[in-house]
């Protein structure tokens, strides 16, 4: 019998720690597939953010350096400078990357560190129970914006991909969504492009993935996918913002 599908080698054969319908699992599979197809697993060091991303600790079949909340880009800088021959990437949520770790991501990108950052934007703090994230949409309710996010007191959701794309150094900056098969295929390609940038020593690459949190959005998985389409994509446009030739 011909094998047409297998779990990527870059993921361990353990059950998913994620809530039903959560797209973290999809994001991780895409990363793992890209690592497999580029033959990077044994050279890889994943620098893990703090949040639901880190539930994936047991999932990745490669060396891992878990960072403090928000510090993954700085930790990855240290790893890569000492081992430039290794493949180094960070995996971070929006609280991790766009609030407590804004400084670390901006400066890592600005130094053009030859690493890759995968940024899961689910517009909330999943792990701590659904508080407002810097990416929470205007009007979106959360446990700390019970009446909906009010820009008068909390400002507007941060568009991290656009912010990073204004910098000179980064080689690749893009945003994809994980809500439909078509979008997932584009994301898969984008992640591979980002990884290639590092392999070819072109510098910092950044992929933002619009994701969900059915649990803290208090939605059924299908409604959460529809919400990405209806509410998130209009505010967070998809596409490649910067591609170094």
């Amino acid at each position: 019998m011909q094998k047409i599908y297998a779990k990527p080698e870059s993921l361990n054969k353990v059950s998913s720690p994620y809530c039903p319908g959560c797209l973290h699992g999809v994001a991780q599979k895409l990363m793992a597939q890209a690592l497999d197809s580029l033959g990077l697993r044994e050279k890889s060091i994943i620098v893990m953010g703090v949040g639901c991303v880190s539930l994936g600790r047991t999932y990745f079949n490669m060396d891992m350096v878990p960072a403090a909340h928000g510090r993954a880009p700085a930790v990855a800088t240290g790893v890569k400078r000492i081992r430039p021959d290794r493949f180094v990437f960070t995996y971070q949520g929006d609280g991790d990357l766009a609030a407590i770790g804004t400084s670390e991501i901006i400066h890592c990108a600005n130094r053009g560190e030859n690493i890759t950052t995968l940024f899961i934007n689910n517009a909330t703090y999943g792990m701590t129970g659904g508080q407002m994230a810097p990416t929470t949409l205007v009007g979106q309710t959360s446990t700390t914006t019970p009446a909906g996010r009010d820009p008068k007191t909390t400002g507007y959701p941060l568009k991290m991909a656009e912010i990073i794309a204004t910098l000179e150094a980064p080689a690749y900056v893009a945003r994809f969504a994980l809500n439909s098969p078509a979008n997932i295929l584009k994301a898969a390609k984008g992640i591979e492009t980002a990884f290639r940038m590092q392999v070819e020593n072109k510098g910092f690459s950044f992929v933002e993935l619009l994701s969900n949190c059915p649990t803290n959005w208090h939605m059924k998985p299908l409604d959460a996918l529809a919400t990405i389409e209806k509410n998130m994509i209009p505010y967070y446009p998809l596409g490649e913002f910067k591609v170094r030739k």
């Binding site: 697993r41 044994e42 050279k43 890889s44 060091i45 620098v47 600790r57 990745f60 079949n61 490669m62 060396d63 891992m64 350096v65 878990p66 960072a67 403090a68 510090r71 700085a74 930790v75 990855a76 800088t77 240290g78 790893v79 890569k80 400078r81 000492i82 081992r83 290794r86 493949f87 400084s103 670390e104 901006i106 400066h107």
Partner: protein
């Protein structure tokens, strides 16, 4: 090798380089700017890494990453920057990652003053970060000792897989002295058994900084507590000077101990039986040196620090178990206690007027 006339901060940087430090990251702050400046000039020439981090938080996090893949790493700072490094020091400790952290201390709290002081004793010794861990803390009293202790700090950090703090006050950092620099280290511990540097030909590894289950975490904490205990048995360093027959003891660390030593000599010349106890390791603290003092002979201890309130005094008191009175002599704000001040206070104490 011949002697070199060199400034404390630069001597510390050169000692680190000779100890095999291949990764330095730091953020400017007085009075230790000469360390990153020196590193920025020397490290790239040697094919090593210097990064001026965007903050102390980022710098210590960079160390964490570089240490996780096996580099010998160092950062340096002073009070306000050490506060920001606290997160990273705690994470290094939890992940069993070696690192050397130099604090060239100034006066706090807050922004405080950039002038030399010793107000970071508690912070360095009792809680350099959250969560209840310990690091060894070395306190040099001159530039040569700053060189030697920095050089050795890397070996202790690797031996224990734990951060080590070198607590040098701003006077030692700024002072120029003639020192002999150690040879370049060429033999380093094998870290291939634990680094997370890519899983070629082996099982993948996770640098652990937490545990999934309670039992594992508690067991881990117990093993680390055992390590701290072993320091107290094996690694205490202390200078005891003319303590044998002393009726009065001066104590202090770093610059203050050096000044106190002059006071000991002058008081001895006047016939007063005074000795000095100078902790070199603040962690592990030389409690034994104080515990051994005979209360029937030693009438009082005077603790001299560039800090108000004095801080080390609490450990001295623990050492003597309240059997000998301990008096404070603290200066702060950039003032250094003069040896004449120490002599005057010692005489007051001997006349029964101490602490008044």
């Amino acid at each position: 090798m011949g002697k070199q006339f060199i400034k404390g901060c630069e001597a510390i940087a050169e000692a680190a380089i000779r100890a095999g430090c291949t990764f330095y990251a730091g953020y400017p702050i007085t009075p230790q700017n000469e360390i990153p400046e020196y590193m920025s000039a020397r490290m790239p020439d040697l094919g090593r890494t210097f990064i001026q981090g965007e903050s102390e938080i980022a710098s210590i996090s960079m160390l964490y990453g570089a240490s996780a893949v096996g580099a010998r790493v160092m950062t340096s700072s002073s009070g306000p920057g050490m506060a920001l490094k606290a997160e990273g020091i705690s994470y290094l400790a939890s992940a069993d990652l070696p690192a050397v952290i130099v604090n060239v201390s100034r006066s706090g709290p807050g922004m405080g003053k950039i002038s030399p002081a010793q107000t970071d004793y508690w912070f360095s010794v009792k809680a350099s970060g959250h969560g209840g861990y310990k690091t060894m803390v070395f306190a040099p009293a001159n530039v040569q000792e700053a060189v030697n202790l920095t050089y050795e700090a890397f070996d202790y950090a690797d031996r224990d897989r734990n951060p080590v703090i070198v607590l040098a006050d701003g006077i030692i950092g700024a002072m120029m002295e003639s020192v002999s620099l150690p040879e370049f280290k060429t033999v380093f511990p094998d870290k291939s058994g634990w680094v997370a540097d890519g899983c070629e030909a082996r099982e993948p590894r996770i640098i652990k900084n937490s545990a999934v289950d309670n039992e594992t975490w508690e067991k881990y904490k117990i093993s680390r507590a055992g390590m701290y205990e072993s320091w107290r048995k094996n690694d205490v360093r202390v200078e005891e000077y003319l303590v044998e027959d002393a009726e009065f003891i001066l104590t202090g660390y770093g610059t203050c101990a050096r000044i106190a030593k002059t006071a000991v000599r002058e008081l001895r010349a006047e016939g007063m039986k005074v000795g000095l106890i100078r902790p070199i390791t603040l962690q592990p603290f030389p409690y034994e040196s104080y515990r051994r003092l005979d209360p029937a002979r030693v009438r009082a201890i005077l603790d001299v620090e560039m800090s108000i309130p004095v801080q080390m005094i609490e450990d001295v008191q623990l050492g003597v178990c309240n059997k000998i009175p301990v008096f404070p002599l603290g200066r702060d704000g950039g003032f250094t206690p003069l040896h004449q001040d120490i002599i005057t206070e010692m005489k007051r104490i001997s006349a029964g007027q101490g602490g008044e």
